[in-house]
Symmetry: none
Subunit: 202 residues, 4 copies
């Protein structure tokens, strides 16, 4: 996963697109003229840097997710205690999903996006990028948990990773559909997820 260098026009396009997404615009309806306007550049300029609208959008998603996941990874690495790492992730998920634009939701529909855009670069696609970061985050959490004795080291790596992923998705699902759970508070949902994680890993 090479981290490309982007010039300032490309980044202007990326930022313009995310400004729109954060305003609630839908990825599937977005117009080139809107992106150009949001990026404060001419419509034609986009075609000096990208071959098509689809490519521009796809590169923007890669860029944005790359940045965001790097940021998240850093934050998790900064924290030492196992439990705090998990709760930090809950917090990040919460903020992400509650915003107008959610990277997580984009990733859930990444398959659609890739089918739609017919872009299948061998070494760069949304899902692999995301999975790669998830693996790094999981590794960090697992080693921290093992040091603290929260994790039975006899479990396979897959077992441990999926236990973490599992409760993160569970919590994400809770946040996404909060209104379906009138009797469950966010803190309760966090505690439930954490308790389940501990039970699984012991």
């Amino acid at each position: 996963m090479k981290s490309r260098k982007y010039n300032n026009k490309e980044i202007a396009v990326f930022d313009g697109l995310f400004t729109l997404l954060k305003q609630g615009k839908n990825l599937y309806n977005i117009k080139v003229s809107e992106i150009a306007k949001a990026a404060n550049i001419g419509k034609g300029t986009i075609y000096d840097y990208f071959d098509s609208k689809e490519e521009a959008i796809y590169m923007a998603l890669l860029y944005y997710i790359n940045n965001e996941m790097t940021q998240i990874l850093k934050e998790i690495e900064k924290i030492q205690p196992f439990k705090e790492k998990i709760y930090k992730l809950f917090e990040i998920i919460e903020q992400n999903i509650e915003g107008k634009y959610s990277t997580i939701k984009t990733l859930l529909s990444a398959g659609d996006i890739e089918t739609m855009y017919n872009i299948f670069e061998e070494d760069e696609n949304l899902i692999d990028l995301f999975m790669d970061y998830m693996a790094k985050i999981s590794s960090n959490i697992i080693s921290s948990g093992e040091k603290e004795g929260n994790i039975n080291i006899e479990h396979s790596y897959y077992y441990k990773r999926s236990a973490i992923k599992c409760i993160l998705i569970e919590f994400a699902s809770y946040v996404s559909h909060k209104d379906c759970y009138s009797d469950v508070t966010t803190d309760m949902a966090k505690d439930v997820a954490y308790t389940q994680l501990i039970k699984m890993l012991r």
Copy 2:
């Protein structure tokens, strides 16, 4: 959640759309003319039964998910043992995701779909429909597990439901990205998920 009665033209449209989706067509690129052709009706006829393309597609998704979830619920209810119910669900997930068109993937991007179509009917939306069925399936599984003594009845209903949902999504995630887990077989993934569920529920 009223279960509407659809006439045969409407069902022809629904079936036509799913024929296309199963052929690998992308939901976001589908054309009215294609749907009409696949449904063996005239293009204009679609507009006698639906106000717009978007509505037709949205109704089709509701119809299809309704049917599929009803079917799944029946299958689960038919089975008695807790463990077999869970493994049956794994099997259903496996088949669903491996096909060209996956209801599960559609549900993951349901948020996008609803934003895209700007359809927010109060009492009928993809997610509520799905959650409703999930609740029924969970209830059935939970009571079966409680009878067998697999489940500690002191856990809250939310705890129990989310534990089940959690491992189902985990397994779905495994199937979706099998190629990322070269050293994990499907049977192993099923066993890991089941073990995790039991640990959570005990």
Copy 3:
């Protein structure tokens, strides 16, 4: 050279295009919207009958030249005397070139047109179509001339055909650039061309 059957929308497009050309519009600048307007049909309708603007224009040229040449051939066949046939052709050339739109000029740039449109149908192209008609017209004139004894039958067919073509192009050139020949009247130009023809064929 099959004579295709065209439906009324196709003919509307053809007629619309020629209305524009006769108004002085240039073939290379014409817009789809202009053609549609001139044809009294919707812009999209053109694409129901032709794959592209280029194809529509090219088919129109084929259609128009086919019609015009058929008409000319008929007129020439109707006339008996050799000399009158030739003078009739002079008259046709005169009228054609003096109009706002000239088929003859189009044929002179037919090579350009075909390069431009990248259309090279095996059995239908502007030049072959034109050459075919020219051969028929030449044949008719030659046999008439031979009957009257104006033509030495010992000349090769190529010799006879090219003599005719030669003075026709010469006269066309005169009409096109009349203003360069201030001291030559049209009647003089006709007589010169005819005299030259007779000298060549004897």
Copy 4:
């Protein structure tokens, strides 16, 4: 017909354009960026010397035809015998038309070009320029023919000029559509044209 002095940037543009034309590019599709690249100058530089793309192309055509016709005129003047002059012209026509880019074809579509570019300079246009050179070439040939006694001096000047032009166009037509005359060799076509010329002029 003043012979302008062009500076080296202007000539670079002219040469660049003809490089492209000789590579088979079509005059109607050529882009400014392509011309600039072929001329090894910046796109903006073209606009320092020409008001528009159209003007640049038009000036290039004038320049090129001027040069080419000067060259041809010189070659013809160098030769003394009437017949050799004519056959030299045949040779020039042959080479010209067989190349990727043909001045003669451009001149045939000169009317289109002038309509297209909306350039009607009073004292400088492609056709007048060409006609002027043709007049000079014709004069030279005619006086040579008269000296040799090939030409009946009683014919009008128009008669003599058009006889020459006539067989030159005839031969050009042959070369352009050689494939339509499978049974006629180039040498035969030359001889036919020359025989016809002699017959006309006697």
